[in-house]
Symmetry: C2
Subunit: 461 residues, 2 copies
């Protein structure tokens, strides 16, 4: 396999690339904290300048809070495909600070890992795309595609302004494919492409009983107990086989078919290791599915929080007036959070005791995402990853939700390709976040190769 | 009906008695608050002095925290019965202060009620006994019985030192009957004697799942959710008819028989009024029993508190590591909290998911109490109450627990007579606590008549 001029450039400039990344990581662009607003803006300006340095047109575009940084290169011509890279330059807070081995914003290389807040999520991975573009531009004088880099500064606070931004700039952001690197590979040395994301339907359920807290001795037995009623309601949400017992809940659940299920079962995954890692006596879940299937392609119903009555030390004999549960569902293609909300409301209306009044508030919803498992785009990504990692990628699911993925597809009418280079256990929202040093090089090479593949025009599904 | 000299004395001195009571009520003897330790001791000394004033031997006896005040009159001779009156001179905190119409410790007479913290619970009712004794001693020069007044200062903090005190002084406190006035009549004008108290078995149940909180997207579906597991466990505690579904739970429950149940059903009780008062859409409870039966003679299982995961505003997608419920049972004769603890442990061991670890902590237990429903003591109380109120008392149950009642019977081997003069809605632990002015007079007359009845020696069962 011949080394390309771009790959030669990458190799020759790797130390400088890394030094630049460290500069980026040193800026504490914590979007959640207003005292870091200056740092967040500094990170945006820094990124704009680095994109200008390598030959992109770049500017900062305001949103109501933290700005978007846009980088563009349109030199490939109207016939060449346009690739939009999405990433974010903001980071999670670093607390608890005392649990970091080295300070969160002083990048530290230890044991082949770059430790720093943002190294994996997502500055480090966003920067791979910029350096891939630089390598191609420096070596070839041009890119094989038209490129748009869209970096937001609000991902860690729920991207409140991103969808309106994309909608407002849909024409300028028009593209043939969206590429996102904000995730992890399945295992070291095993490049991965995501084929699905779970969606979310999150509710707060409040059960109202008596008008005020009552003495459980004086009133207990004669008046409904809303905490007990809530427990009984929650107990109806699953059957004994771990399936969700809400009528109609599975109607829209995609059957991924034997081929995809076989691929999932073929992945190197050790139930026992997983069990030990989470610290439970035994794994559990929906009967008839493997752990990875339960996490990726099957929906869930979870209680995320419970609150009622007296929760302090010792005994208080209160019959509570209210009880509250946070209940969320992870959804899989082609479920819809609005439909799940309807089904849940109907179910609870059937099972709730008539002596209670139940309120259901919809706190949060996000569509699941169904990616491609074959076709030109997957083939292009596979070849690019194989060039860098020496093997074709595996297809993986993701139990969590990234609502913007579906939104990009909806607004821009372009498929999304999700491929990340972090590794499991990267501590993305925890102390000692890290990114594998090896994948800094390999990621740049893979992403440059991806642009070449996409530029060949063969990916259209 | 001739007015007795003691009754004449009571009538002639009522204004002075009331003024003295107000002095007592002005002392903020809040046992729970150490900044009121001086006030609590002041109340003890005030009570000792008032008992000395009327001719009792009285002294303060120390306990590890707030002292006991003992008053004694032994002049009736060894053949006369000895009556022990129990009450408490400490009071609940007055918070929230802003909800009192007049300040909590400035007694205020409005609409025929004495409003003040402690007016009903229990200074006001304890003082009735002292003034009954004064009236008899002043009018007759003697009491018809030997009298012991035992007033503790820790009832509102759970009487931590009372049982050891009674055990240590069992010989001195030896008596033929214990009389307690710390409760309410069933309705205005309807004197009441208690025939049962429910006991208590209070538990904290903790369900442990994964070793730490997990992301509900990344792990949900593959790992047990301890909040959902807790809800399912709690859901097994009742069947659909409102009966407790723990095997063996009803084995020791007394069947009070048709006569007592008929008496309960004959009481003037309006389900609709009760329902409106507590503010529920409908009443509920164990099938086959009336509301008063559910509250008095049937056991319950209540959730007093729930806590797990995220309970703040909005959505947090956490799969919690733990969940906690405070669960308590009200017990009826002849249930035993220790036996209920065994049954609960066995039941939860059967129903808890094997992926969880469940901890059950016994926080609090108290035996139920089974009083007399007929016999000499009830007849004596009936005649005394009829003399004052113009009608015989009704027998009532009490859904709450007063663990010391059973302890008095056990240690002193004497029956307990529970008759109170407050009224429903007395706000005993709430703002605007009150005691009916009319019952200040009637209570003193009834209690003096009770001592006469007991002195006649006809009450021994």
């Amino acid at each position: 396999m011949d080394v390309t001029p771009a790959e030669q450039f990458t190799a020759a400039n790797l130390d400088r690339f890394l030094a630049e990344l460290f500069d980026f990581l040193r800026i504490p662009s914590i979007s959640a904290k207003s005292e870091h607003n200056g740092d967040t803006r500094h990170a945006a300006g820094w990124l704009r300048d680095r994109m200008r340095d390598i030959g992109l047109e770049s500017e900062i575009l305001e949103t109501p809070r933290h700005p978007v940084v846009l980088g563009e290169w349109r030199g490939a011509g109207a016939d060449a495909p346009t690739v939009l890279v999405y990433g974010h330059y903001d980071v999670q807070p670093a607390e608890p600070l005392e649990l970091w081995t080295a300070p969160a914003f002083e990048p530290d290389v230890r044991d082949g890992r770059i430790y720093a807040r943002g190294s994996a999520d997502d500055k480090g991975q966003l920067f791979l795309h910029v350096k891939a573009a630089e390598s191609l531009l420096a070596a070839d004088g041009r890119l094989p595609v038209n490129l748009i880099v869209l970096a937001e500064g609000e991902e860690e606070i729920g991207s409140p302004n991103l969808i309106p931004f994309v909608e407002a700039h849909a024409e300028r952001l028009a593209c043939d494919v969206v590429v996102i690197s904000d995730s992890a590979m399945f295992a070291p040395g095993l490049p991965s492409v995501l084929f699905s994301l779970r969606g979310l339907a999150y509710f707060e359920i409040t059960v109202h009983g008596p008008a005020s807290d009552l003495h459980s001795g004086s009133y207990g037995g004669g008046v409904v107990n809303p905490a007990m009623a809530l427990a009984r309601i929650l107990g109806t949400l699953h059957d004994d086989s771990g399936r969700i017992a809400i009528p109609g809940f599975y109607d829209d659940v995609v059957d991924w078919g034997d081929e995809t299920r076989a691929e999932i079962r073929a992945l190197p995954f050790d139930d026992e290791e997983f069990r030990e890692g989470v610290g439970v006596a035994a794994l559990s879940g929906e009967a008839g599915y493997s752990t990875l299937e339960r996490l990726w392609i099957r929906p869930t119903c979870e209680v995320n929080g419970l609150l009622s009555g007296y929760t302090g030390e010792g005994a208080k004999t209160v019959l509570p007036a209210h009880s509250m549960a946070k209940v969320s569902f992870r959804l899989v293609p082609d479920q819809d959070p609005a439909r799940v909300a309807e089904l849940l409301r109907a179910h609870i209306a059937r099972v709730a005791p008539p002596e209670t009044r139940v309120e259901i508030e919809e706190l949060h919803g996000g569509m699941p995402w169904r990616g491609q498992v074959s076709g030109g785009l997957i083939d292009a990504a596979s070849r690019a990853l194989a060039r860098s990692f020496g093997r074709r990628p595996v297809l993986t699911g993701e139990g969590g939700s990234i609502p913007i993925v579906g939104e990009f597809e909806r607004i821009l009418e372009a498929p999304v390709l999700l491929l990340g280079f972090a590794l499991p256990g990267a501590n993305m929202h925890a102390p000692d976040e890290w990114f594998p040093l090896e994948n800094f090089d390999k990621g740049i090479v893979a992403l440059a190769a991806l642009l070449e593949e996409l530029g060949s025009g063969a990916f259209a599904a």
